[in-house]
């Protein structure tokens, strides 16, 4: 079974709008990361939020973490066409030596 998963398969928004991607996980964690993967590229980290943090910001990105419900969200404000990508959450696997990735949410931003 998935140890981490995003809640929606795909989202579509228009440029300038905000979008939120949600993720749930099933194990205790030390940290949760959000990655973005553009077409033809490997994933790239956007934000890391530790288990003792509730919110983390990076420019137009805001991540939240709720350890009681084992869920996280990534919000993007003022979206741009170049934000079009697949967004993954990733948590530490047991032993902390590798990551467990969710299946990803495709975000499409149109002009």
């Amino acid at each position: 079974s998935q140890l981490a998963e995003e809640n929606l398969w795909a989202l579509s928004v228009h440029e300038g709008e905000s979008v939120t991607v949600n993720c749930s996980y099933k194990t205790s964690i030390t940290a949760l990361q959000w990655y973005r993967q553009k077409s033809g590229e490997g994933p790239a980290q956007l934000i890391l939020i530790r288990s003792n943090e509730r919110e983390k910001r990076n420019g137009r990105l805001r991540a939240t973490l709720d350890t009681s419900s084992q869920s996280s969200s990534l919000s993007i404000t003022a979206t741009r066409c170049e934000d079009t990508a697949v967004y993954f959450c990733a948590t530490d696997a047991e032993g902390g030596r590798a990551l467990i990735f969710g299946t990803g949410t495709t975000v499409s931003v149109s002009p």
Binding site: Q2, A4, E5, T30, A31, Q33, G40, E41, G42, P43, A44, Q45, L48, F88, D92, A93, G96, R97, A98, L99, F101, G102, T103, G104
Partner: protein, 112 residues
Amino acid sequence: GGIITQTPKFLIGQEGQKLTLKCQQNFNHDTMYWYRQDSGKGLRLIYYSITENDLQKGDLSEGYDASREKKSSFSLTVTSAQKNEMAVFLCASSIRGAHEQYFGPGTRLTVL
């Protein structure tokens, strides 16, 4: 900064063939990883290596071999390619003990 290079970018093989994928990183990272990404699915760990000559199996290691002969390189061998194996193979590296992983652009495998 650094970069991860994966070769080849596209790999086409015959069913039953032994195929090798290569990965090089110049971050000087200790730990390297191989993931498989199937269409519409997340990344699944095949092998990882904490340091030169170390190998650790991931959840998907059956049917694969890996080799870490140098700190900068990590290769993955598909021992007998199967048609249901068509996927993108992603290599990544990280500082030992760090959370963030840096990914290469991937090798897309097609099995005929």
